[in-house]
């Protein structure tokens, strides 16, 4: 253990091209809609994700847990189980394998205004899409008659300064409803839940990393461009490049296997070409996040669990 260089990612002894998606063919496709780097408020390039912080083992009572911070979004996730399914099911499919149950809650103080404790449809659909994105990665066939409970608490969902920045922008645009923003909470939810599942030692094919992409329409020309991991500011206001928000896609990716486990698209996202371009860029971004953040958080969590010294963090 002592000779391990923890700053490096360990590749397998026998190396193969890690991701068939990273070939040059896609690079040439993406360059069509490339923006200049100054197109974003925070100086990111259009395919750069926000810095993110992740660590595991946050909740001592849970079998596994993780915490993630992306921009202003702060999410904590706890995983309990596997435990025996107690509810009686008529279908008798309990022999086929385990199941997962997801519960997503927005803290009452997560938004600008206090939110009631009543669970609303947004939280319900977040939980459903999260379960869809996570299930393909888990080897549930190994867990007959068992259930894994995934609890997600969104501690902060919006930045405090949104209204100020949106009024200062010259254009008057209807800000997208909170529901649109909620759908973009899905990507960090996916990442943090997969981290917590790995921390719980649940067997899985691959970690799942979530990534969102915002699609914008250029006002001068009738063409679309996209920005990976749009921040709240970019959603609420006209992009610096002169585009209007038209839709978004949230993708759940299993980076090592190179497969898509979750996909939610909303809005007039144009033709399949543009959409697939955006999705492929998400897949690339997820691979990067996985290599740099997820792996490190897991390895750090592993070291922390085996030594009394705690504290592990990572950031892009």
């Amino acid at each position: 253990m002592d000779s391990v260089d923890r700053k490096r990612i360990h590749g397998p002894d026998k190396s193969v091209l890690p991701l068939p998606l990273l070939d040059s063919q896609h690079e040439s496709v993406t360059s069509k809609t490339t923006l200049n780097p100054s197109a974003r408020f925070d100086g990111r390039t259009h395919e750069e994700v926000r810095p993110l912080f992740a660590r595991t083992a946050m909740v001592s009572q849970a079998n596994g847990s993780a915490y993630i911070e992306v921009g202003c979004i702060k999410i904590i996730c706890a995983v309990y189980g596997p435990k025996q399914i107690t509810t009686k099911s008529k279908s008798g499919d309990h022999h086929s394998g385990g199941r997962i149950s997801c519960d997503v809650r927005l803290a009452p103080f997560a938004g600008l205004k206090r939110k009631g404790y009543m669970k609303d449809t947004n939280e319900h659909s977040l939980a459903k899409n999260l379960a869809t994105a996570l299930t393909p990665s888990l080897l549930l066939a190994h867990l007959p008659k068992s259930q894994i409970d995934i609890h997600i608490q969104i501690l902060q969902a919006t930045a405090g300064h949104v209204s100020a920045s949106s009024t200062s922008s010259a254009t008057v645009l209807p800000p997208p409803s909170f529901a649109t923003n909620l759908s973009l909470l899905l990507s960090p939810c996916i990442t943090v839940a997969s981290l917590a599942l790995a921390d719980a030692g649940i067997e899985m094919m691959d970690s799942v990393v979530g990534c969102s992409v915002g699609l914008f329409r250029r006002t001068d020309k009738n063409s679309l461009f996209w920005m990976v991991d749009p921040s709240e500011e970019e959603r609420e206001t006209r992009a610096l490049g002169g585009g209007v928000w038209v839709g978004n896609a949230v993708v759940g990716v299993m980076p090592s296997v190179g497969r898509i486990s979750g996909l939610v698209v909303d809005g007039d996202v144009g033709d399949v070409g543009v959409l697939m371009e955006a999705v492929n860029v998400c897949v690339d971004a997820c691979a990067k996040v996985h290599d740099v953040v997820v792996k490190k958080a897991l390895v750090d969590g592993f070291h922390a669990a085996s030594s009394p010294v705690s504290g592990s963090s990572s950031a892009v």
């Binding site: 253990m1 008659k145 970690s207």
Partner: protein, 191 residues
């Protein structure tokens, strides 16, 4: 020793035999949990090594889940003429995080003279029993069996509160009151 995370490629299917903590997808073997890779020579296959990923701490290990043919240890919760209900606490050597429910039906108590078995003369609530999982059972419980010599009651407490001592395959005696009670006793296993 390298630490691997889920989804990391460990090697080719032809080189290794995938074991715990790994998953085979196509020709490759991938890690399925966070842990360290260990390889051990296989007894049956001389060419290939058994590869597994070992989670280091108990915290990182998924709680054990009973499978068919695994030996479990549990506590008798209640008995009725048809079956004894157990709470499974240990699977093999690993404790369960969450208790699973299992039942020993009257016909699964012992291998011979099954028709003469009476549950109340085999198990009583509170007994600690070693049993084998014979099926995943219904939606509520696993089906267990004690139809082997080394399976059965391994610890029982008499009404007087003393730990009872097995005196035969079917009887246990209380060291305090010398009362003899019927049990399906397990043959002690050499540690």
């Amino acid at each position: 020793m390298a630490i691997v995370t889920p989804g990391e490629r460990l090697g080719l299917n032809g080189e290794f035999i995938a074991s715990h903590g790994t998953v085979e997808i196509g020709d490759h073997i991938y890690a399925a949990v966070v842990g360290t890779v260990t390889t051990t020579p296989s007894e049956s296959d001389g060419e290939r090594l058994i590869i597994q990923v070992v989670p280091k701490s108990k915290r990182n290990m998924a709680a054990s889940i009973p499978e068919v043919s695994s030996i479990v240890t549990g506590k008798v919760l209640r008995v009725n003429p048809r079956m004894a209900t157990l709470s499974i606490m240990v699977v093999g050597e690993t404790p369960c995080a969450d208790n699973f429910q299992g039942v020993i039906r009257v016909q699964d108590v012992r291998a011979t003279e099954r028709d003469k078995v009476q549950i109340y003369n085999s198990f009583r609530p509170g007994d600690i029993v070693r049993a084998e999982v014979i099926s995943l059972g219904d939606s509520r419980s696993y089906y267990l069996s004690t139809a082997k010599n080394e399976l059965g009651v391994i610890l029982a407490t008499s009404p007087a509160g003393a730990t009872m001592i097995p005196i035969s395959w079917e009887e246990m005696v209380c060291p305090k009151t010398k009362v003899v009670e019927n049990r399906k006793c397990a043959k002690p296993v050499d540690a």
